[in-house]
Symmetry: C3
Subunit: 477 residues, 3 copies
C-alpha cells in the first residue's frame, strides 16, 4: 500500500511550541488572502481560449517543467524518455502513461526539495490525490488526475478563479502582439492577467536570431528601425502599448549586471554594426546591453513602469541539451554576481529619482547581506525581490529573511513572486512563502524582537501589500 | 493608545526552554560586567568639557546617526527634512520637533532591524520611555526625552560612569592634537577614554585634500615631511604621541586589503609624485596604501600598538549625497573582499612575529569560514574582530559564531566592538552581543558540545577578557 | 579534580524534544552500520606490517595532526615545542610527555571545535579516558593511553576490525608501488584497504621536484616517458595497476578548477618544455593541469575509475613554516572558487556521459547553493562530495544539508568522507556525520517535509549506501 500525504496545518513550521503556536495564528490571518503574482511565465493562451485545457497529467506536471525533468535527467533518465520535445521534431516518448510511470518510480528524488513540496500540495489540495506517488500507484493516480483535468472546474479560467488569484503577470517579448491578453479582455472574462515587457531578445545583440527578433519588433511597433534612435523609439512605442494593455512592469535578464551608459556615439556605432554586419563581439553586446538597461531605467522614470532585473544566470550551460531541446531545459546555472560596482553608474543617474522603481533579484545569495540589503536600505529607487529560482524554497526563504531583513527592513522588499510556468504550482509556492513568513515572524515574536501586533501587520505586508505597492498594481507608487 | 515596549529579561534568546534556561543563567553572570569598548567613533569632546550635552532628542538619536537616517532616506524622505546638515550650509529642517515627528511616523521601518533593537533599549532602559514611538505619541515622548537630557545625570560624563564603561577608545586622525583627551586627563576626571591612531587621511594619497592633511601632520609632528623617509618619521612620531596619550591600537581602512611592500625606491617615487604633482594614479595610491600598511605592521612590531584592519567598504557610493552632505551618510556599501592572497605578503613578513597583533574585520561574511577563520586559526599574529557594521546584529552574530568559531576557536577572536558614534547605543549594542554570546553558548551546552563550566568561562572571555587581551588594555600581550 | 566528559547518547542533537526524539530513533538505526571510508590519508603501512603500532600518545594525537598543532601554533606555541619534525632534521622537542603536557594545558583552545568533538570521542569511547584533559591530569592520562596503545587490541589491524570499517581508501601517488597494499593482500588479512590514484605530483608541472617525480613514474610504469604521448601511456598503465590493486577512484587537487582541454600540439609543447627545460611558467602549468584533468575524465570514462576533484586550497601559505617543516602543516588556506565557468569545458565533453562519475568538493561554501547543487542537480556525471576539511564539522554539515539538498536532492550527493590521516578520528568523524544526518532528517520529519519512513531510507543512504554507490564500491555504477 502506498503512503498517504502528511500535510498537516502546522507543516514546515518550527516544532518549538512557542514559535509554532504564533506561526499558526499569524498564518491563519494571511492564508486566505488573494494571490498577487506580479512576475511569472504562465502562458496567457491558457486563459484567452475558454476551451483550453491543462492536457494530460504528464503535460501538466512533467513535460513543461524543467524543475522536474532536470532532476530526473541528473539521475540518468534521458529527456526523450520524459517526452520533452526535440527542436528537430525527432521522436520522443509519446506514451504519457510511460512518462508518468518513470516519474512515479523516481518520485523519491524529490524528497526534501521544493519541487517535492509543491507537488505534494498540488496532488493533495488541488488534484485531491491522497497517496504519495510511487511506482505501484502510478497508473491509478494518472487516471484520477486525468479525470479531474477533464472536469469543468479544471478549465484554466475556472481554476484561476477558484485559486483566488487577484492578478497574474505574464512575461512577454517586446514584439509580442499581446493577442492573448487582448482576447481575454474582449471575452469579458474578469480574471486580471497582465503582460510584462521583456525586451531581452532585441536588447541583447547576441541573442540567437537577433535580426529576426528585430524584424518582429519593427512589425509590432510600426517603427522603421534603421538606427539606434529609431530602435529606442520602437521600444518606447511598445512600452506604451504594454502599459495600455495593463502592464505595470518590465523585466530584464543579464549575466553581469554592469549597468552603465555609453557615449551616445558608441551606442549608435555598436547598434549599426549589429544591423549592418549581423553580429557584434561579445564585449560589444555586453556593453550595449548595460547601456540599454540604463535607457530602460530612463524610460521607467518617464512612463512609470516598474523595472525588474534578473542577473547572474549562465543560460544553456549544457550545449548538447541546448542543441537538441532548446532553452529552459534545466541547465541555467548561477554565477557569482557583483552589484556594488556594477549598479553604481545607473544608481548615480537614477538611484535617488522618486519616479524609478527598480526591483533587484539574485541567484547569488552571498550578495544578500553584503550588497543587496545595504543598497536597498539606502537608495530610494530600489526594492529587493524575493528569493529567486533555486532559492525559492523553505531554506532559501529562511536565509533571505535572515540575511536581508535586518539591514533592508521588510519595507524595502517586494513580497513574493512565484515566477513559475507551472500554473498549478502558484498556490503551492505562495503557501510556502506565507508559511515561511509566518514562521519567521513567529520567531521574532517568540524572541520579543517585535510584538504580536507588529507581526500581524508585517504578515499582511509580506503576503499581500508589499508586492501590490512595489509593482504599482493599485496605480500608486 | 500607543503600545508598550516588550523587553523581557529573556528577550532574543531561543524560545526552546532547555536553551533559554541556560542562556539566562550564563547571561546573568556577564550582564553587569564593565563595558570594554576598544573601537568606536564617539566624539571625545563630549567628555572633555564637563558642561557638554547630548543636545535635543533629534540631535541625540537622528541627525548624527547614519544607521537611522539612511533607512528613512531609502523610503523617500530627504536628508534635508531630517535635519542632516548640508556642507554648503544651505537650509535644512531646523525644527527638531518636526524631524522627530517624521522619525516617529516611520518608526515601523526599524522593525526587526538592529537599529530597532538598540533604540528600544535606549528608549526603555536609558531614557525611561515606556511607549513604542509612533506618530501619536511623538511630541509627548520628545518632551520626556528633552527633560531627561536636561538633567545632570545625562551630562555625558555622568552617563559614561552610570553606563559602567571601563574604557572607551575613540578614533582619531594622525594629525589630531588629542586636545580633548588631554583636557580630560587634566581635568582629573577618571573616565578612561583613549585615542586610536588612524592615519588613513595621510596614508591614502587619494584622500580628498591630502596636501592639507599632510600639512596638518607636519604641524602636529613637528617633522618637516619632504620625502618618504621624513613621512615615516612623522608617523612614528605621532604613534609615539598617541601611545603616550593612552592609545593601545591603530586602525586602518582600505578597499582591497592588498598588503604588500613595494621596493623602497618605488614607495619613495610615488610619495614624491604626490608631494610634487599633487596627485597620483588610483593604482599608485592603492599600491602605496598597501605598502604603508606593511610599514604600519612593522611599526606595530616596534611600538606594540595593536593594528586593526577594516577593509571592503566602497565609501560614498551615492555621489549626489556625498556632494551635498559629505561622508558617513549611509552610502558606504560593502564589496567582495579577498584575504588569502591579499594578506599573504604581510603575513609572510610578520605573520609569525609574536610582537604583532593584527585584528581583522570584514563586511564580506563569505570570508568568515573560508578565509578569516582559517587564517586566524593558524597565524599567531592574527585575531578576528567581531561582526562589523551591517553584521553587528543578532543574526550577524549568530552567523559569525556559526562560521568562525569551529575553525578559529573563540581564543583567536577579539570579543566585541560597538564601533558606534551614537554614545547611548553603546550599552544597547553590548547588551545584544552578550545576549547573543550567552544564547550561542547555551546552545552548545544544551547539545553537550561544551559543559556548563566551560561555557561560563567562555562567556567571561567573550564579554570582557578577550577584548582586553586582544587590545592589550591591561598592558599585557 | 578534572571534569568528566559529558557525551550523552543525545549529544549534538537539537534540544527540541520533537526533533530530538526522532533524531535518536533514526540515529539508532544507522549508528552501528559499517564504516565506508572512500577517501582519506591514513598510511597503509599501519596495516601492512602486523607489528606496526600507533606510537606514543603524542605520536597518535598531536605530532602528525595538523588540525591539532595549527591551533596550538596560532596561540603562540612553536611547532618545534610540539615535536613536529623539521625537514633538516634539526632539534625539536623529543620528550613526548612534555609535548603532551603542553597540549593538555591548552586543551581549552579546542572548545566548540570539530577537533574538540573528535578528541572527546577518541578519549572517551576508544581510549576509555573518562576525564577531560587538562594540565593537572595530563601525565596520568598519558600513562593510561600509553598502556592502551601497548595492548594487542590497539594494534592497527585489530583496531580496524573493532571499529567496524568495511572499506578504507588510502591516497597514493601515481608512482607508488602500492607495496603496502600488496603486503596486506599477501598476508591474508581480510581488512579491505584500497588505494586511490592521485597523480598530482606528475600532472602539476610546477610540483617541487617534478623531474624526480616523473622519474619515479617511469620506473613504476616501465614506460619510457619521453613526450606527452608516452606520459599519457604511463598514466594509463598506472591507473590499470591501481584498479587491479582494488582502487575504484582517482583524486585530483587544483587551485583553480579550470578544466579545459588544450589543442594537442599545445599540450605536447608545454610537456616537452617541462621535460627539456626543467620548468614552465605558472600559466603554462595551470593550463596543462586543466588539460590533464580532462584527460583524466576521458580515462575515467574508459576504465570506470571514479574521479574526485578537490579544488581551491592555497597550499603552504606560510613560507617559513613550509621551508622548515614542509607541507601539510596547517597552512593550507581556502580561496574563492568558481565552478560554473571553470567546469564547463569538461562538462561539455563528458557531463552527460554515463560512464563518468565526477565527485566535486569545495572549500568555498558559497558555491553550495549557487553552483554545486545546481550543477549536480542537472548533469548526470556529477555527484557532490560531503563538507570538506574545515567544513567537516557540525555546523559545516548543517550548512551543507541546508544549502545543497533542496536543489540537488540527497541522491546527487556522495555520503560522507572522513578524509583524515588520524586513524582514530575515523569513527569519531562518522559519528558526527551520522548524528548530523539523523538530526537534519529529524528536523524534516518534525516539520512534515518528509515522513518517518522516507527519513529512515534517507538515513541508510546518507550513512552507508550513497558512498558505496558513488564510489562504485560494489562494482555497480
Amino acid at each position: 500500500m502506498s503512503a498517504a500525504w502528511n500535510l498537516p496545518e502546522n507543516r514546515y513550521f518550527d516544532p518549538d511550541p512557542a514559535v509554532q503556536r504564533v506561526a499558526l495564528e499569524i498564518f491563519a490571518e494571511i492564508e486566505q488572502l488573494p494571490i498577487v503574482s506580479p512576475h511569472g511565465h504562465v502562458d496567457p493562451r491558457l486563459f484567452s481560449d475558454p476551451q483550453s485545457s491543462f492536457g494530460s497529467p504528464a503535460e501538466l506536471l512533467i513535460i513543461p517543467d524543467h524543475y522536474v525533468f532536470r532532476m530526473l535527467y541528473s539521475q540518468g533518465m534521458s529527456l526523450e524518455s520524459l517526452g520533452v520535445p526535440r527542436q528537430d521534431g525527432g521522436p520522443v516518448e509519446s506514451d504519457h502513461r510511460k512518462i508518468w510511470q518513470r516519474f512515479a518510480e523516481h518520485f523519491h528524488l524529490f524528497r526534501g526539495t521544493p519541487s517535492g513540496m509543491w507537488l505534494a500540495y498540488e496532488f493533495k489540495f488541488i488534484l485531491e490525490v491522497d497517496e504519495i506517488l510511487d511506482g505501484e500507484n502510478a497508473q491509478r493516480v494518472y487516471d484520477q488526475i486525468a479525470e479531474r483535468l477533464a472536469s469543468p472546474e479544471f478549465k484554466p479560467r475556472a481554476a484561476f478563479e477558484r485559486l483566488n488569484i487577484e492578478v497574474l503577470a505574464t512575461t512577454d517579448a517586446a514584439s509580442d502582439s499581446l493577442a492573448a491578453h487582448a482576447a481575454m479582455r474582449e471575452s469579458g472574462w474578469r480574471g486580471r492577467v497582465i503582460p510584462t515587457f521583456r525586451p531581452d531578445a532585441v536588447v541583447n545583440l547576441d541573442t540567437e536570431g537577433w535580426a529576426r527578433q528585430l524584424e518582429s519588433l519593427r512589425k509590432a511597433s510600426g517603427v522603421d528601425v534603421h538606427d539606434y534612435g529609431s530602435f529606442l523609439a520602437a521600444l518606447e512605442n511598445r512600452r506604451a502599448f504594454f502599459k495600455d494593455m495593463g502592464a505595470t512592469a518590465t523585466d530584464h535578464a543579464v549575466v553581469v549586471p554592469r549597468l552603465a551608459e555609453l557615449p551616445e556615439a558608441e551606442a549608435q556605432a555598436i547598434f549599426n554594426k549589429a544591423l549592418t554586419q549581423g553580429s557584434v563581439s561579445a564585449a560589444e553586446a555586453a556593453r550595449f546591453t548595460g547601456h540599454m538597461l540604463v535607457q530602460m531605467a530612463r524610460m521607467s522614470c518617464e512612463d512609470g513602469l516598474v523595472m525588474q532585473l534578473h542577473p547572474g544566470s549562465f543560460r544553456n550551460h549544457n550545449p548538447s541539451v541546448f542543441d537538441i531541446f532548446g532553452r529552459d531545459k534545466g541547465f541555467d546555472i548561477p554565477v557569482q554576481t557583483e552589484y556594488t560596482h556594477n549598479l553604481r553608474p545607473l544608481l548615480e543617474q537614477y538611484g535617488d529619482d522618486p519616479r524609478l522603481r527598480l526591483i533587484l533579484f539574485t541567484l547569488d545569495e552571498t550578495a544578500y547581506s553584503r550588497e543587496l540589503a545595504t543598497l536597498a536600505g539606502a537608495y530610494p529607487a530600489l526594492r529587493l525581490g524575493p528569493p529567486w529560482w533555486f532559492h525559492d524554497s523553505w531554506n532559501g526563504m529562511r536565509r533571505y529573511f535572515d540575511q536581508v531583513m535586518e539591514t533592508a527592513g521588510i519595507y524595502n522588499t517586494a513580497g513574493f513572486n512565484d515566477d513559475t510556468r507551472a500554473f498549478l504550482s502558484i498556490p503551492a509556492r505562495h503557501d510556502v512563502w506565507r508559511r515561511a513568513a509566518a514562521n519567521w515572524l513567529a520567531g521574532l515574536v517568540a524572541r520579543s524582537v517585535v510584538g504580536m501586533g507588529e507581526a500581524r501587520e508585517m504578515a499582511q505586508e509580506m503576503a499581500y501589500r508589499l508586492p501590490k505597492r512595489a509593482y504599482r498594481l493599485d496605480g500608486d507608487a
